[in-house]
Symmetry: C2
Subunit: 219 residues, 2 copies
Amino acid sequence: MAEVKLLGVSLSPFSRRVEWALKFKGVEYEFIEEDLQNKSPLLLQSNPVHQKIPVLIHNGKPISESMIIVEYIDETFEGPSILPKDPYDRAMARFWANFLDVKCITTIGKALFGKGEESDKAKEESLELLKILDNELKGKKFFVGDNFGFADIAANLMAFWLGILEEASGVILVTNEKFPNFCAWKDEYINCSQVKEYLPSRDALLAHFQARFQTAAAP
Amino acid sequence: MAEVKLLGVSLSPFSRRVEWALKFKGVEYEFIEEDLQNKSPLLLQSNPVHQKIPVLIHNGKPISESMIIVEYIDETFEGPSILPKDPYDRAMARFWANFLDVKCITTIGKALFGKGEESDKAKEESLELLKILDNELKGKKFFVGDNFGFADIAANLMAFWLGILEEASGVILVTNEKFPNFCAWKDEYINCSQVKEYLPSRDALLAHFQARFQTAAAP
């Protein structure tokens, strides 16, 4: 039995975050693909509170919530550090990871998937959040310091998945005119060595989300 | 000039979390009371993204978001550890702190402060979340292990502020019949040595929130 198992969905940015952290550290693991329409007993038993992927099972003990798993991996396995060493830089990395997860993903999710007034309000708020990121990322390759790390892992949804979700939903939030720094960062992110080889296929993701939007729009 | 400043609101559970962490470590600090109706230039400049308290300023460098500050304090200053030493226990502490902050506070806030359908839905969800906590806290004094720590600091709003908010709003979510383990934990929490002396006055808090609910209900 593998010492490290990951229950996930290969197209999910949250699963990918954990995979990146494991690959970053050189940890071997068994990936178990979950069907979210028919969750496995192992998933439900391992994450009874949220019943969500990803779940890392290490020596039989489950951990859930993607960025909590990433931090666990950083503290448990040898290899390059994911969080910076300096406590202030660590706080900044956690700050941006939290901003991306708690503020951006929730709001942008409503802008793309919501309806009516809720979606309109979320679109306005999303543009404000993107403005904050655009200011922060001016001239920057990574969120904190000179190395790809914790906040950059958290940013995968914004850097890669968002563009595909925009295309699939027809709701365009990011334009080069409005957010030039964010766009420059995003292009560099997608092509950087730590990321490029670990991204899922753009075509597969687009087809997946197009199908989801069509199902959602069906009468 | 003090090396450590805390911009906060003395009745806020989020400010108190940071104060507890500082007191836990024996760090001297200057508390600067903020007026949230008229935020100081220092607050706006120190936390331009969220424009919220608390903000810790250490040697001139600002950090925001209460639990990120608590972790910074744990990593920066000598003294007893706030997070457990073991990586799995640390992950569990972060898991419950995240659950309390991201799930409970948002949902319960809507249940108490929301209106109409939104509030009704949030009340139902709040009861489910309280059930999860009630199961988790069965026979437990602390969230993780035998020591007061990270998740317990995050739980201050649920253990102390919630009861007062219920009384001020007239919306009662927690009863001993429904959530006996949660109630037993809460009573012990409020009276434990790490907490008791650091709580604000119940009467002052109640008067504060009663005034807020009356203002909100005014035509």
